[in-house]
């Protein structure tokens, strides 16, 4: 196996481990006794103590961390204090909303941004480039939740084309479910697409200034052929880097957007859990989101090796 990949996978694993310690430690210092929370203020001290024992809260910190982490690795996230169901079940129910939303947004943003960036770079300085870059400058500045409000106003209230919020569930059929996710995905995707389009354009322009582009032109390749065959692949590294970063913004964005559209996703779950002080749910969802961010960035780094032979070693 190649040294770059091994090193990157190793550091990814270390990052995950450290992040899990941070999550566990931060929520362990939270004031308030979960056992007391579950049983209510009227419960006797004995009952609370018994529950603490049962939940393993009396064990030393390190043991609790180990068993939490061990459970996490096999998919056992513990039981929610308030819902009294396994957290994994709660998370799974909500993830079927959040994950498709994030992926749809990622797809939309890439599908819009890359062609715009390519077109702008190949028409540098022309009117189309100026307009696209002006629009993207504006797009970067728009907060996604405000954009969501405007979309709701225009498409749901004024035009009545799409639902203003709520989620019928996948059981109601793929089309109604997708329809409910469409506006939220647009609201998430457009500001990200604006950033991505700018990065794509500037990465391409950087590459087009390189010596090897001139060599390719001296071979008789036209400007556009060089852009497609030589520049694009070299420009992909900064583009993928931004895509990786965007995924983390998209995840955070879903938390907000789910609140605008009343979608029963992980974002809503985490807010409900905070108000109910259901810490094990907060802990699990945060850890899950952080792990996703780390894994996605690891995948992005690994994709560099596919793009650039210099990272593959010899």
């Amino acid at each position: 196996m190649m040294p770059f990949l091994l090193k990157r996978i190793g550091t990814g694993a270390i990052t995950l481990l450290l992040a899990s310690i941070v999550v566990f430690a931060m929520l362990d210092v939270v004031p308030g006794d979960p056992a007391r929370m579950m049983l209510g203020m009227n419960a006797t001290e004995d009952a609370v103590q018994a529950l603490r024992e049962q939940m393993g809260l009396n064990q030393p910190l390190i043991m609790r961390y180990m068993s939490w982490l061990g459970g996490f690795l096999v998919g056992d996230l513990g039981r929610s204090y308030t819902y009294s169901v396994p957290v994994s079940q709660l998370v799974a129910e909500r993830a079927v909303v959040s994950l498709p939303l994030a992926l749809l947004a990622l797809f939309l943003s890439t599908a819009i941004a890359i062609p715009v960036g390519l077109y702008s770079a190949s028409h540098r300085g022309k009117a189309a480039d100026t307009i696209a870059m002006g629009a993207s400058q504006l797009g970067v500045a728009i907060p996604n939740f405000w954009f969501a409000l405007l979309l709701v106003y225009v498409f749901a209230i004024a035009l009545r084309l799409l639902p203003a919020g709520g989620f019928p569930g996948w059981t109601a059929g793929t089309w109604p479910a997708l329809k409910a996710l469409f506006l939220p995905a647009i609201a998430l995707a457009l500001p990200q697409a604006a950033i991505l389009a700018r990065v794509t354009r500037s990465a391409l322009l950087d590459v087009l200034g390189e010596d090897f582009v001139r060599t390719a032109r001296a071979k008789g390749l036209s400007r556009n052929t060089v852009l497609w065959r030589h520049a694009l692949r070299n420009a992909l590294i900064p583009v993928f880097t931004i895509l990786g970063l965007q995924f983390s913004f998209l995840l955070a964005g879903t938390i907000i957007i789910e609140n605008v559209f009343y979608l029963p996703g992980l974002g809503r779950l985490i807010f409900q859990a905070i108000t109910q002080r259901d810490l094990i749910v907060v802990e699990s969802v945060v850890m899950l989101l952080v792990a996703t961010v780390i894994v996605v960035n690891l995948l992005v780094d690994l994709s560099y090796a596919a793009i650039d032979p210099r990272l593959r070693g010899t």
Partner: protein, 545 residues
């Protein structure tokens, strides 16, 4: 009719005139050199022929290739010509190839485009031309990526790309400037053979008269965008009718006049304690990681080097690129640590000393780097740049004293004290190298290590800097260790020479005797590959009778 005919070519970029009424012609099977110092417009002339000028360029005049008007050709017509009838080789082989495509893909791409053949046929032809340029498939399969090749090998790939379709015109823009002399000789031989084989016209752009004297039938000398002289190479360079031609020729063979009596220094050197003695120095770099725990064997950049030098001596450390000479220089300057061995300066071993313990030694040991652009902090004025080593003095200087010392150092290198508050970028390359020398001089060092101090400079400026260095060595008694790949520099200003090859010193001796009669194979290679204007002219005059 000539193959290439340039008439009254004028070029301006964003309104700034670059070329002014250039005339040039080149016949089938002929080599024409285009010579000039940096900024003379020689590369822009080449790019104008290729119609690959930068954004904002405006041209007037005529460029005819085989009777076709290139300045008014459409982009499609140019694409059909480039790489097929006109090939081009660039200066910098390290960046001229796409890092994410194999050499096979890159060579075959042009063949597929112009010859309209399938992938298999194009690859077969790519294999053939790569073999022809000295990259046989057995050792360099088509699936190699550029980063797996050395600079010289990459330049061969670029040449393969440019000549794959046997163009009638080949333009080579400083094709060997980034390579060491041995590689330069090999690449020039290759170009000469390829051009001869298929009767190409070659437009060879160079700053080096010695290279040109060896290669070119015709020569055009450019200066600040205008043609100064043109004609048959041997005649132009031997008669030197135009004062600028004469100036260039003199500067490129320049030897400073101030020479010390060699006998006395060598005699006194023998009895004195050495200023610097390097004993069995080794510098190892760990190999690349292989797998989880394994490592490739470590490489020895410097492998058991010993030598010593005395006060007032001037020594050249020469060798091909990558031979370890710069690594050795850094260890002598205590900027890098040897893996083993000792380096004694003024009788004190530098190895293992703390920065604090090194302070009194550093005062007597300074450095001049190659790049007159990169060796200054762009945000500091000349006064601050030059004053930096004063940090090594024990006494605390007042602001006025510092300025006085800086002004003194500047005047020693021929600059005015009025330049104190300017920024380095306000000076020309040669002036910057003077500032760099002033910085090295300000603590009155006994040794200056100069890493390729003139190789980034134009010939006329180079000659002035060599004079200055010779003056400092002979009149002020500063010892110099010159790191260089250029034997003419070594011959011009040093008494002794060390020839380094693959981390070892393979030959030492008096500079003139080693250069005139090298004994080791490595030194012979270097000497024979080094271009020399006199030798080239003599050889060609004999050939012509």
């Amino acid at each position: 009719m000539s193959l290439l005919e340039i008439e009254k070519l004028c070029l301006s970029i964003h309104g700034k005139t670059i070329l002014d009424r250039i005339d040039l012609s080149l016949n089938q099977g002929e080599v024409r050199a285009l010579v000039g110092e940096s900024g003379s417009g020689k590369s822009m002339t080449a790019l104008a022929v290729m119609q690959l000028l930068p954004y904002g360029a405006m041209t007037t005049g005529n460029i005819r290739f085989d009777g076709r008007d290139l300045l008014h050709a459409s982009e499609d017509e140019m694409c059909a010509l480039r790489g097929d009838d006109i090939g081009m080789v660039f200066q910098e082989p390290m960046t001229a190839l796409n890092p994410v495509k194999t050499i096979g893909e890159q060579v075959a791409e042009g063949i597929r485009l112009h010859a309209k053949v399938g992938r298999a046929v194009a690859e077969e032809r790519a294999r053939h031309i790569l073999d022809r340029v000295g990259l046989p498939e057995s050792r360099f399969p088509l699936t190699r990526y550029p980063h797996q090749l050395s600079g010289g090998q990459r330049q061969r790939v670029v040449i393969a790309m440019a000549t794959a379709l046997k163009p009638r015109l080949l333009i080579a823009d400083e094709p060997t400037t980034a390579l060491d002399v041995v590689l330069q000789a090999q690449i020039l031989d290759l170009l000469r053979d390829l051009v001869h084989e298929s009767r190409m016209g070659l437009l060879l752009i160079s700053h080096d008269l010695a290279v040109v004297a060896d290669m070119a039938d015709q020569i055009t000398i450019l200066r600040a965008g205008t043609v100064v002289e043109d004609g048959e190479t041997v005649r132009v360079l031997s008669e030197q009718l135009h004062p600028y031609t004469r100036q260039l020729a003199l500067a490129s063979t320049h030897v400073p006049e101030i020479r010390k009596p060699p006998a006395s220094t060598i005699a006194s050197a023998n009895c004195e304690k050495p200023l610097l003695s390097v004993t069995n120095v080794v510098r190892e770099y760990p190999g690349a990681r292989i797998g989880l725990f394994g490592r490739a064997p470590s490489t020895r950049a410097v492998n058991g080097v010993s030598f010593s030098m005395h006060e007032r001596q001037s020594i050249a450390l020469v060798g091909r690129s990558g031979c370890g000479k710069s690594t050795l220089a850094r260890m002598i300057l205590a900027l890098d640590k040897p893996t083993s061995g000792t380096i004694e300066f003024e009788g004190v071993n530098l190895v293992g000393k703390s920065e604090q313990e090194l302070r009194p030694l550093r005062r007597h040991m300074q450095v001049v780097f190659q790049d007159p652009y990169g060796s200054f902090d762009p945000r500091q004025t000349v006064a601050r740049v030059v004053a930096e080593p004063l940090h090594l003095l024990d006494e605390k200087l007042t602001v006025q004293e510092r300025r006085d010392r800086v002004a003194e150092a500047l005047s020693e290198v021929g600059l005015s004290g009025a330049d104190l508050d300017k920024y380095p970028h306000e000076f020309s390359g040669g002036q910057r190298q003077r500032i760099s020398i002033a910085r090295a001089l300000i603590t009155r060092p006994k040794l200056i290590v100069a890493d390729e101090p003139v190789s980034a400079l134009d010939v006329s400026i180079r000659a002035q800097i060599l004079d200055l260095l010779a003056f400092l060595n002979n009149r002020q008694g500063v010892a110099f260790l010159f790191i260089t790949h250029d034997l003419s520099v070594a011959r011009a200003i040093t008494d002794r020479i060390l020839v380094m090859h693959e981390g070892r010193i393979v030959e030492t001796g008096d500079t003139s005797s080693v250069l005139d009669q090298p004994t080791s194979d490595e030194a012979k290679d270097l000497v024979h590959a080094s271009p020399s204007l006199h030798r080239a002219l003599k050889r060609r005059m004999q050939e012509q009778g």
